[in-house]
């Protein structure tokens, strides 16, 4: 049996208003900048997943805590879907972690002008990591409520007796602190957000999430009403990281009068 005539077809039994109503849906199109904005986010997430996966792979396979992070920072990491798939369970962890990590940068995509206001921030210029920093004990113990809950297979957990935290632990701690700073900024607590960012800078001066930290610092400046400083920092960021997925959005800020 053949398919019926489509309503939008003139010879169907639909009346004119039915066709016009249905046809109106065909004219609904995405906004002009939607495609580029979504692509920037996708790039950022793929990059974060690749970075985390590479870190975990190197940790698990070689016992060397920093090799993958160092190599990914030193030269562009090419991670295809097949490679990611091959990472198996580590990818699951990577995705979960990337979700929490990128939650921090997600704030970037909300309208800048919708943020809360007042005071001043001083956060370090962006620094992309070559080696993650050791976890400061203060962070590891102070932030349990905001640390991402990630189920790590027993075989990948560090021995309890080990005094040296591995790359995954350090990234977790850095991510947790960044997530906390973001949550504080989102609820309008700029003073606390500023303190958290200062701790991030002090404890992870060459953190893996240096770019995300800097973006959050710029957002904090905006929230505090310090537009000029935010614009300067945005320009510095773009100059330092022209290919960063954050740069297009920051360019708009930098270009605003």
């Amino acid at each position: 049996m053949a398919d019926p005539q489509r309503f939008l077809n003139q010879i169907s039994d639909a009346d004119e208003f039915e066709r016009k109503l249905l046809g109106s849906l065909q004219r609904v199109q995405p906004p002009a900048d939607a495609k580029s904005e979504a692509w920037a986010r996708i790039e950022a997430q793929v990059a974060a997943v690749a970075l985390v996966s590479a870190t975990l792979a190197s940790t698990a396979a070689a016992g060397s805590t920093a090799t993958a992070v160092a190599s990914s920072a030193g030269s562009p990491l090419t991670v295809t879907p097949l490679v990611l798939k091959a990472l198996g369970s580590k990818l699951t962890l990577g995705l979960a972690l990337a979700g929490s990590v990128l939650g921090a940068s997600a704030l970037l995509w909300t309208p800048f002008h919708s943020r809360p206001a007042p005071s001043v921030a001083s956060v370090a210029p962006p620094a992309r990591a070559t080696l993650p920093e050791p976890i400061p004990a203060a962070i590891a113990t102070e932030e349990p409520a905001t640390a991402p809950r990630i189920a790590v297979p027993a075989s990948e957990r560090p021995a309890k007796a080990s005094a040296e935290p591995n790359a995954s632990d350090r990234l977790n701690a850095e991510s947790a602190l960044l997530t906390q700073a973001r949550a504080q900024l989102r609820r309008g607590d700029t003073a606390e957000a500023e303190r958290s960012l200062a701790r991030l800078r002090a404890n992870f001066p060459k953190g893996v999430l240096g770019q995300e930290r800097e973006v959050l610092a710029i957002e904090l400046l905006l929230a505090q009403g310090n537009t000029e400083a935010a614009r300067r920092r945005a320009n510095a960021f773009i100059a330092a990281h022209p290919k960063s997925p954050h740069s297009p959005q920051l360019s708009r800020l930098a270009g605003d009068p």
């Binding site: 398919d3 489509r6 249905l22 109106s24 004219r27 609904v28 990914s72 295809t80």
Partner: protein
Amino acid sequence: MSEPPADFRALYDAHFDFVWRSLRRLGVREPDVLDLAQKVFLTAYFKLPEFEGRSLVSTWLFGIAQRVASDYRRSAPVRREVATDDAELEAAAGDHQDFSSESEARRLAHAAEAILNKLPEPQRTVFVLFELEEMSGQDIATLLNVSVGTVRSRLRLAREAFRREVKRLSAGTAGGRKEAV
């Protein structure tokens, strides 16, 4: 920083508008479409090695979009906010005799979306695929993993519901015009 490969970018460029439109037609509110489109393409990126080329890429992406939209529509806040209310529907439609301007076209589209939002999800999906994406009954059946008979049954029910709502809308706006005079 690692970047998605160029061929994935080409796939994205070729299908972004399609995915965006599909999500809207599947009941995703405009402010949320970008987030969900991102989710669809990230899912596609990680599932790309599993894509066996047995269907069109657009059909495959629609399948992902459908699952993403389905999860979205099941979430409680969305259920509360999706426009299905009669007054809102009529306000969106306004006077359907005058839809020449851009704003009127938008109002009509909102009204049509509000009607689609009233359809049960399985009917809505078939209706959108058949009437707007112009897929055949057989292709829809393959995509949704149901029989062609089920597709036709859902389409018939969806059409009846669509017509019922349009009729109600027409009556409502006509009544409104009479009162205004």
